[in-house]
Amino acid sequence: MNAPLADSATEVRNRADPRQVLADRVAQLYRQMPIAIVATFVAGGIATYELTGRFLTDLVKIWWAIVVVFTVAASALLLAYRRSGDKVGTAHQWLRWLAITALGNGASWGLAGGVFFRSLTDEQQVFLAFLFAGMASVGVPVYAASWPIFALYAAGILAPFFYILATYGNRLFIEIALLVPLFYAINVAIAYRLTQVFDSGYRLRHAYGRLTEDYSVLNQRLQGQLVELGEARRQVEASGRKLTLFAERSPIVVLELTADGTVTQVNHAAEILFGYAADELAGASVKRLVRPEYHADFDRQWAEMVATRQPATGLKIRTPRRDGIDLVCEWTVTPLVNAEGSLIAVIAQGRDITAQLEADRMKKEFTSTLSHELRTPLTSIIGSLQLVNSGVLGDVDKEVLDLTQVAERNGQRLLDLINDILDIEKIESGKLTLSPESIHIDELVRESMVLNKGFGDRFKVRFEFAGGSGWAVNADRKRMLQVMTNLLSNAAKFSPEGGAVEVTIGETGPNLKVAVHDRGPGIPENFRHRIFGRFTQADSATTRQKGGTGLGLAICKRLIEMMDGRIGFDDRAGGGTTFWFELPRQKV
């Protein structure tokens, strides 16, 4: 366990910024400077006092002046350091200045030794030696944060002293001189060790400072994440409330069920619709809301939904209400599957379509009534008039005949309108079914021209078949004749008297194209975009002049599209219009 701990301590220390550590050491050195300054000044003063008046008075005064200059210079340096702004970036510089000052300080003492020692009395020499030893020792705590500075300082004091002692010619002094380097070495070693302690201490301090900083950053980040989590929780709660509100206030029935079909929650709409309170339905099987005779069907569909996990829509289920009245609801059932793929709930949303089904039934009945009750009397009216007009009952007076013909024509118009309305209703409600068969297109076109010859005669227009083809289409014969009748009668209505309507059959790619060409006035610009719409005619006067319901082309378009074809019109070169339709062709 120890090794990793030591490693981690080293690792921690290494995280410290070396520039910061150096700056701390420099600051420590400058903090100790006042001691050096005061010690130098006081010791220098005592030494000057002791040496003055005996000999070399001038030199002593000069030396004192040097001590004073040093004191002032060192104080100025200290002041400058304290006032400086960036102590980290300029630490090297301050260290250099300090080294110079320390060397000067040491050298000033060394100077005193070198100059004065030989001239002193024995007692004075002891005094000076004691002073040197003391000053050198003072350097240890003062310069402990940088052992090279101490080494310089102490060398400045001791080197001249060593030299004087060694060359004095006195055996005792030589022995003392030999002790000086030893003494110096021991002190430098102590300073070195102290420097290391300082360095390590400062590094640890900074490393832990950084750790604390990291920790606080981490703390801040955690705090931020906590805030985000709290916000997320609030949002989840808000959407939960929103969802509950949606279900609760929804006009459609919402049930939450378990995978085995047990009701867990129902909304207000369900209570109102089925007549049960929420807690009567909750906990029971949802089959209570299915008529017993449909239980088998329900079980099969439910099992399929649970097995496939696929949502189901448009499920119509007959439900006995609490009061026994039957309802029909249309359901959308959605299984909720979690990330692991297991079914956690089933949401069923239901809409009461009882009234809608009733409305559909009534509409169907109405259509049937319209069909029967209007067509039966028309059969009598048109049939009677046709018998009169055909002449089989004998000759009729010309004026009477004119009127009975008008009556027959308008009876027919009324019948056409009813048929067209029934057709468009059937097409749009998807109830029209086609009976496609392979039809020889030439025969169909010829048959339609024969059938509509009478209509053409009325407008004094001929139908001409220009060229045929051996193609067939897969289409409903009766409905194709209806389309052709519409196109031919439109063309006849708008052609000039004595004109011809041409019918052509051609091919366009995989399709067969039947075109009906007239020489009419063309389609007015403002009518082109709605020509295939319902109840559209270029102007209402046309209806009165030419007859027609305005539904013919709308029916044609729908019929042709039901047979996978398309219908359109083009302006005809030389005047007139070409109506055409295309159907996928078959080779006969």
């Binding site: 049937s368 029967h372 067509r375 059969t379 079914t433 009976s435």
Partner: protein, 129 residues
């Protein structure tokens, strides 16, 4: 195609106006002999007496409608072999197809043209075995 031409037609229809038009059409235009029956419940007896070549039934009739009468005819030996043509204003193509598949000889939809009715009946007659 039956050996003899279509001559005797029995028509069961509750609407007197249409009865009259059909009778005129078949007699005057088609030169046929026509027996019109207004009460469907009396129709089978009338057919048994009249012995028609072909029977025309209206679909929508009170008490007994065309398809029901048709099913009754099928159960009676004297009428089961008679070719039946339905004439109706109501039914969709699918209903008519279903009747044909049940054994009806053909269908004619209302409104029909009295000029063309005999021709339509003869066309159906011509397709019979």
């Amino acid at each position: 195609m039956p050996a003899r031409p279509l001559n005797r037609v029995c028509y069961v229809e509750d609407d007197e106006d249409i009865q009259r038009i059909v009778r005129m059409s078949l007699e005057r235009v088609g030169k046929m002999t026509v027996e019109v029956v207004g009460d469907p419940t009396a129709a089978i007896d009338a057919m048994t007496k009249f012995k028609p070549d072909l029977v025309m039934l209206d679909w929508m009739m009170p008490v007994l409608d065309g398809p029901a009468l048709f099913r009754q005819m099928k159960t009676r030996p004297e009428t089961s072999a008679l070719p039946v043509v339905f004439i109706t204003a109501k039914a969709g193509q699918r209903d008519l197809d279903e009747l044909v598949s049940l054994g009806a000889a053909g269908t004619i939809s209302k409104p029909f043209s009295p000029k063309d009715l005999p021709e339509q009946l003869r066309a159906i007659w011509a397709k019979l075995p």
